[in-house]
């Protein structure tokens, strides 16, 4: 059983996935931030691989990506940093990024190296379902990584079911059709999540985009297994002197002492 699957068996509700950008705020802070997240209540970590043209991301994650790139973060450097990370991190870790840097690294080599260091899953928002099915899906499956598709309120039921079938680990429900970190109304989101719940999908559902605090997290957890917080956490790290203190106080504000 994969590490992500085990997590949802052990904790079927209120799963908190926190996004951070690799190499942000400092090139070598990646592991420190991940460790702080694990210690303070994150059940899952989504590690962003910075890219020069992150189309699906809003200004906060864009800015953190530029900083990380300026710091010298690359996929090669990241895998070097992650070499022994399983000695310290036991929560599931997902890499999130865009196709182009992965293609340049070599898609197959990337999947192999990610699995070898102990990464559990992969999110590539600009890898479409057709190309996944015809070309890349087999490579990902062979590596043992879970691939996580995104669905939105505009995704048809038929397509949600198809993407659910193709996904492993969980399904990423984008709260509204937007880039990351936007402000959208959570009442609409509730109806959408209720609808998704009614589909009885094979994968657990985590909600992301625009979730920034306890209220948002609680609302998301009403009809889904949990939520993903990204931009709000990056904001909390911005200009912080002590990453552990910043991470702790941010996570406490979302899930309280657990």
């Amino acid at each position: 059983m994969s590490r992500i699957k085990k997590l949802f068996v052990a904790k079927p509700s209120r799963v908190l996935n926190v996004y951070c950008t690799a190499g942000y705020p400092k090139l070598n802070s990646t592991l420190e931030v991940m460790e702080a997240l694990q210690e303070n209540g994150a059940d899952l970590i989504e590690l962003g691989m910075p890219y020069s043209d992150p189309l699906a991301d809003g200004p906060v994650i864009q800015a953190s990506s530029s900083v990380a790139l300026d710091n010298g973060m690359t996929i090669t450097v990241l895998f070097e940093q992650l070499k022994d990370f399983r000695k310290r991190i036991h929560v599931p870790v997902i890499l999130m990024g865009y196709m182009n840097p992965v293609l340049q690294y070599g898609f197959e080599r990337f999947c192999k190296d990610a699995a070898a260091v102990g990464v559990d899953g992969l999110i590539l928002p600009d890898l479409p379902e057709y190309e996944f099915e015809t070309e890349y899906g087999a490579v990902i499956r062979q590596s043992g990584l879970d691939f996580i598709f995104l669905v939105t309120p505009e995704t048809t039921e038929e397509r949600v079911r198809k993407l659910d079938q193709l996904s492993g680990g969980f399904l990423y429900a984008v709260s509204s059709s937007s880039t990351t970190g936007s402000n959208k109304n959570m009442t609409d989101v509730n109806a959408y999540l209720k609808k998704l719940k009614g589909f009885h999908l094979q994968n657990p559902v985590l909600v992301g985009f625009g979730i920034k605090d306890k209220t948002g997290f609680d609302a998301a957890c009403e009809h889904a297994q949990g939520a993903i917080i990204g931009s709000a956490f990056i904001k909390a790290l911005e200009g912080s002197k002590n990453l552990q203190v910043a991470t702790k106080s941010f996570l406490q504000s979302v899930v309280g002492n657990s």
Binding site: Y51, S66, Y105, Y130, E154
Partner: protein, 401 residues
């Protein structure tokens, strides 16, 4: 009859050979899928065709002349015909596409139009058709381009468009395109994105090429009138994303006797680090929703290009052109900033035509071709130079100094 294998058509997934496709986040899926399933049937509706053709004739001023450039031909000891897209309403070929896409957007029930622009020509062409149809228009433009293309920014504003500066990255066309795509993600249901070049996810490269194909459609019969033959020996066009080249090549793509010459911007020189010559410097990659050749680092970060011409200052190229490059069907040359500038002044004095800086690259490349007296060369004069006057004035000061 269409040949069975055609360079014109991508496959049903939008691939020209290995380039193309639709690498988009799920948030754009409904929009792009709707376009994919409907663009061809809408474009083939007789009512659409009628309105499109009428506007091209009465509003844009088509057909644009095919002009035999006598003094230039004498200088090059050859025969050069200029396809005068610079005489289109708004001063460049860009409006052929925006007319088509606005009609399409209205038939899709869209209420809001967004666009990206580099030189500002596509922005002006989009603002123009939005004014024509009374529809809201937002144009994303790199901050750097807003500075160097001030007259076009003023035109867009006068036409009622909102010009939004793109502040990220190199602050040029690539970043304006990113911002436009993000806007589209955030406003997917009511908004149509009018992409200005043969780039972006399928069906944009094919759709834009079809709207621009009127250039080569006219060229064929015009050339026949003038020379007795529909086929030139060469068609020459500048390429940034590649829309004027796609239009100028389109009806010659499967005429293998016609040499297709695409001219990229070398900036300060192909190996100077300040260049936009994508086929010379790029590798296969994914940018703005399609697989194509992309200028990038070893780590797959997209490189900030350089060209004196804002319209060519783009680190990618349309998938059709990547395929023409890969298969050898297209002949790719490049021209530096300096050569383009020199050429613009030469053409102004030889033919009384001030070309856009983009087009000046195509002119400069004529000298790299080994032309002879029997050659019949069509050069796509994609735009006029009014928008580049500030650059030209600076050059004149330097020449006089």
């Amino acid at each position: 009859m269409e040949p069975i294998t055609s360079y014109q058509r991508p496959n049903e997934r939008g691939y020209y050979g290995k380039f193309g496709g639709a690498y988009i986040p799920e948030m754009l899926h409904p929009n792009v899928e709707e376009l994919q399933t409907r663009y061809l049937s809408i474009m083939q509706e007789p009512a659409f065709q009628l309105e499109f053709r009428d506007l091209l004739r009465d509003y844009v001023g088509r057909p644009t002349p095919l002009y035999y450039a006598k003094r230039l031909s004498q200088q090059l000891h050859s025969n050069i015909y200029l396809k005068r897209e610079d005489l289109c309403h708004t001063g460049a070929h860009k409006i052929n596409n925006t007319i088509g896409q606005i009609l399409l957007a209205l038939r899709l029930g869209k209420k809001r139009i967004i666009a990206e622009t580099g030189a500002g020509q596509h922005g002006v062409a989009t603002a123009t058709v939005c004014a024509l149809k009374g529809i809201e228009c937002i144009v994303y433009m790199g901050e750097k381009d807003i500075e160097r293309q001030a007259p076009n920014v003023a035109r867009m504003r006068m036409l009622g468009a909102t010009v939004v500066p793109a502040l990220s990255g190199s602050k040029t066309l690539k970043d304006a395109t990113n911002e436009a795509i993000r806007d589209w993600i955030n406003n997917a249901t009511d908004t149509h994105y009018i992409i200005g070049s043969v780039v972006g996810p399928h069906p944009y490269p094919d759709m834009v090429a079809r709207f621009q194909s009127v250039i080569s459609e006219e060229t064929r019969w015009q050339l026949k009138e003038k020379t007795g033959s529909e086929l030139p020996t060469h068609v020459v066009a500048c390429v940034g994303g590649g829309s004027n080249a796609a239009g100028a090549f389109y009806h010659f793509l499967d005429e293998l006797s016609v040499q297709l010459v695409a001219v990229e911007a070398a900036g300060h020189g192909v190996n100077s680090g300040l260049s936009a010559a994508t086929t010379a410097l790029g590798k296969a990659g994914i940018l703005h929703g399609s697989k194509s050749l992309v200028m990038q680092t070893e780590d797959g970060q997209v490189v900030e290009p350089h060209s004196i011409s804002a319209g060519l200052d783009y680190p990618g190229i349309g998938p059709l052109h990547a395929h023409l490059y890969e298969t050898g069907r297209g002949h790719f040359l490049n021209v530096t900033d300096e050569e383009a500038l020199r050429s613009a002044f030469e053409i102004a004095r030889l033919e009384g035509i001030i070309p856009a800086l983009e087009t000046a690259h195509a002119f400069a490349a004529l000298k790299q071709l080994k032309l002879n007296e029997t050659d019949q060369v069509v050069l796509c004069l994609s735009g006029r130079g009014d928008k580049d006057l500030a650059t030209y004035m600076k050059q004149m000061e330097m020449m006089n100094a």
